[in-house]
Symmetry: C2
């Protein structure tokens, strides 16, 4: 492929933005020019890309007609303000903020629903879903190819880096205060998150449903093209810096023998199946890696239709930045 593309990266100064820069270089993405952008207050910093220092500029002053693809890795408000401008300039948008509705910006996990892009017209407006959705979709897709899925129960323990650098700093600060027996004054969270688990992440609606959990379910249904799939999702804030971990129980429409499930998962390029007896964890296995790690695969007790498993992956890398770059790779291969 000799063609190369001008790229804009909005939210370059965040954890996901920085990982996007690394991945574009590491995967030799055909970039002609990389424009690093952020809101006015974050502009001015510099990041290395292919041996040069690139300065982050104010997105408000950017002319999107210069680029073919724009990654939106800043907050929801930034996407809402500037994605329409990028689209109007004929630029493909890949959103990582969750700001756009599912019918405005279909969620894409290239290993699973790459074909969903074929039905769209340019300029393309696509989104990378929540990290647990990337993980679940890659694990479930090979299973639903051969089995009917009736019900899914997911407990997602989210890494603190889902709150960005501020989250990482706050967990470290709280932990240090506690180990030094100093009084704890929580910031960013309304209570102690160090050595604790918070049962609620983000806002909750009048029915007690967390908006994040609703989004997880809707995005997963869209990516798997299973709009009726019953999903019970609970998102918990864990005192873990990087790496989301999911405890998953699924019910199939009929017997789903363990050997069949193993065979379906073992051939998937995105997955690393950890053998019985051992199990993967965020720290030590998933963090810094491209793979989604699957372990503790086991049948239900006296129930051949039930399958239980554990999934862990780097939420910033595979769960966000890498999936977005894979969407861009899909676009340049077939559509741009």
């Amino acid at each position: 492929m000799s063609q190369s593309f001008a790229i804009a990266l909005i939210g370059a100064t965040g954890l996901v933005g920085e990982t996007l820069i690394e991945l574009l270089e590491e995967r030799e993405f055909p970039v002609s020019t990389l424009h690093l952008l952020a809101s006015a207050e974050s502009a001015g910093q510099s990041f290395a890309f292919r041996g040069k220092n690139l300065r982050v500029r104010d997105v408000a002053e950017f002319d999107f007609s210069q680029v073919k693809i724009a990654f939106f890795a800043a907050g929801e408000a930034v996407t809402r303000s500037f994605a329409p401008r990028a689209q109007a300039a004929g630029c493909a948008v890949i959103d990582l903020s969750g700001a756009l509705l599912l019918d405005e910006a279909p969620r894409i996990v290239p290993e699973v629903n790459a074909s969903a892009v074929a039905g769209l017209k340019p300029p393309y407006v696509l989104a990378s879903p929540l990290s647990p959705v990337v993980m679940l979709a890659c694990v479930l897709a090979p299973l639903v190819r051969e089995h009917t899925l009736q019900r899914l129960t997911v407990m997602a323990a989210l890494a603190i880096s889902q709150r960005g650098r501020e989250g990482v700093t706050e967990l470290a600060r709280q932990t240090a205060e506690l180990l030094n027996a100093r009084p704890l004054e929580p910031r960013l969270f309304d209570r102690q998150v160090a050595f604790n688990l918070l049962a609620q992440v983000g806002l909750v609606d009048g029915e007690g449903q967390a908006l994040l959990e609703r989004r997880l379910v809707a995005e997963l249904q869209q990516v798997l093209t299973l709009p009726e799939l019953k999903v019970s999702a609970t998102c918990v804030q864990a005192p873990v810096f990087f790496g989301d971990s999911l405890s998953v129980s699924l019910l199939a429409g009929g017997p789903l023998p363990l050997a069949q499930a193993q065979a379906a998962l073992v051939g998937e390029s995105a997955l690393e199946l950890v053998e019985e007896g051992d199990y993967p964890t965020a720290v030590g296995d998933a963090v810094g890696q491209d793979a989604i790690y699957v372990g503790r695969l086991r049948q239900g007790l006296d129930d051949a239709t039930e399958l239980n498993l554990w999934i862990t992956s780097d939420n910033v890398r595979k769960g966000a930045a890498l999936n977005a770059v894979q969407i861009a790779e899909l676009l340049i291969k077939h559509y741009l």
Copy 2:
């Protein structure tokens, strides 16, 4: 009640043993003499009880005919060695180690299956189940009184104190090493547990089932008198010092309206139902308290038969020591 009882406490030097001593004093349990016992290597320490210092003696040299009730809060091997001796001396045994089979030592949660003791003959050999079982049984009992339970999915995030003082020390040590950027050499666990979640607790059998999870399911079925209840259980080691937290999803045989579930739970003395919008956590709510905290009670998405909730409680106190003392209170009230 003017009668008082001589009591033996085996495993007095452990976290649960120490809490048992506190609770016997705090609840004014009618103790005539308290004998603190442990294995030979732990003997010699002293603990305060009702203003006096009691010295811990070697259990191997103890004559169980001196006491009416013996709490076994040491390891499984200690229970296996000495519980038969206590029983032969006519002493009631309350085991907290999990060493005895379910038909040798029925699991009792006094709020739930106190009546199970009525069918037994002295000398009584009873057991306090795993902390998550105490929590689940207290929450589910009021619901199963009015509704059929079809299926239960539980992700139990266990506090490190389930591994005793050694576990607590190891989490603190690992955390300090990491914050000081020193190389980590795990002890007690085979990997980093600080800022991580371990997907497997204890030994796993040839089918990938953890023995602890099998025990959890069997004990819960016994306490609820629902031997056929389908339960999917996953026990995870969390980097939390004290307080187990459970993410629970249950399916009823028919619609289980949220208002009915709330009404069933709100009247239970063992439970503290946290209102919508807020939620309980181990640190700040449960630790040091007698109550089992329930929150995030919510219906399934588009499924009136599904109910999701979060439970947290002090694993050492309510999950172990307090439940055992409540079993003893039940015994002296009706059976001794």
